[in-house]
Symmetry: C2
Subunit: 102 residues, 2 copies
Amino acid sequence: MKEICICPRLSKAMDLLGKRWTTLILYQLLEGPQRFNEIESALPISGRLLSERLKELEKEGIVERAVYSEVPVRVEYSLTEKGLALEGAIREVEKWSKIWIN
Amino acid sequence: MKEICICPRLSKAMDLLGKRWTTLILYQLLEGPQRFNEIESALPISGRLLSERLKELEKEGIVERAVYSEVPVRVEYSLTEKGLALEGAIREVEKWSKIWIN
């Protein structure tokens, strides 16, 4: 393996982003903070799996969950600085998929 | 699901790129056409798995395999136009991973 190999970081990033639904959830959150139900209704994903993925993304510091003490309680998910920094990558994959994927 | 949802294409693109080792192989091939052994020695991946991934990428039209009838026969792998078009996305993930992945 080369001394300056980017492997471990690039590999870890792709393990994260390559997980099924993860990029679609991030893509959806690029539109701004959203409640769980808004994300769920925008994507063809089960509530259970969405909840699981959001927890993983929170753990990775990519998504944050804010609870507003209103009645009823409002819970919103949004991208952190680390998550927002993925916009360039997501937009590039989007661009490529529009041209090259049928 | 929204009418203009990018989901199926973005999802298919990420299923493809998110497969373990795939992005690293493409990253390596961004340096130019290479023999199997060159790619193998540049990445911490077994020959068997590399061979499998290269075949998948060939099938997707992202990588092409050229056989030169020299003695001994020379076989080189390179990115197709579709594969080269992924450079922007790969560089963006690389940039992100350098900043945000330890």
